[in-house]
Symmetry: C2
Subunit: 167 residues, 2 copies
């Protein structure tokens, strides 16, 4: 996502605003800051997960399975919930299967489907990662007061709901 390291300073934005008077300098700065911080935090998360041999894609699959009562789901359902294509989910499951973190079980009721099940090894991988993940998130977010956190989220949701204006 946003890779740009060199965010414009107000001098540059002013130069651009001369050519493009539509520019709302403050708005652009707020927008770019949001993209940039989101991207950087995502990178930091990937980096953290990498220490456990995971990446966001695989990690979410494990978590989605753990959410299920019987620790089981189907590739299609996982793909939809994880926000990736079914083809991508095939690859993610391949990798997790190879490492023994999940298993594919044939579904006798609908032979098009598989049951994807979290294994004991998969659960123990989560048990290894999640406590540390939660501690890190807590440390990260504790720079904001609980009230600030609520305000942040409410503003983000407003932007989220307004994003269609960009389409």
């Amino acid at each position: 996502m946003l890779k740009l390291k060199d965010l414009p300073d107000s001098k540059i934005l002013t130069k651009f605003a001369e050519r493009y008077p539509e520019a709302n300098i403050d708005g652009v700065m707020h927008f770019l800051t949001l993209l940039r911080v989101g991207s950087d935090l995502s990178d930091v998360l990937d980096n953290f997960l990498g220490q456990y041999g995971l990446l966001q894609g695989r990690w979410w699959v494990l978590i989605l399975l753990m959410r299920e009562q019987d620790l089981t789901s189907t590739p299609s359902s996982l793909a939809e919930k994880a926000g990736v294509s079914r083809a991508t989910m095939t690859g993610l499951i391949d990798g997790l299967d190879k490492e023994g973190l999940v298993i594919r079980v044939t579904n006798v009721e609908d032979r098009r489907k598989f049951h994807i099940k979290l294994t004991a090894l998969g659960q123990s991988k989560l048990d290894e990662v999640m406590p540390e993940y939660y501690r890190r998130v807590d440390r990260l977010m504790s720079i904001l007061s609980p009230e600030e956190g609520d305000v942040l989220t409410s503003m983000l949701i407003k932007l989220q709901n307004n994003r269609d204006v960009f389409k």
Copy 2:
């Protein structure tokens, strides 16, 4: 970046919190919301740029060149400012060169380098995209008051500066 569509609700988080008492439910929700909104806005931006035959990578290169006094820079400098590897920058410049939006000019002072220069066609591509881009950003961000925008950015910067706790 964050693809996960199915953010946990408080019921799921509570279940996880039983197994992982470290979990600060509110903090996790705020964190995931930030990643999610950042990711979605980035996708929306890519989608917008795609209508003009651009993607974020190429678009930033054009903008970085336009920031320069003589509309000229080097691949290394562009790579660093854009936050991509030099190898990736080679590919971006290849594409832009092929479309005539930038040109490579040999550098007689240091024959290892090239001058990468924005062409008139490249400038006119920006002139086509930027006004609409600024209008969209303005419309998006105008859901927040100027004061809210400032508060948002200041909280984001706090998180940004605190992200090393994750490492």
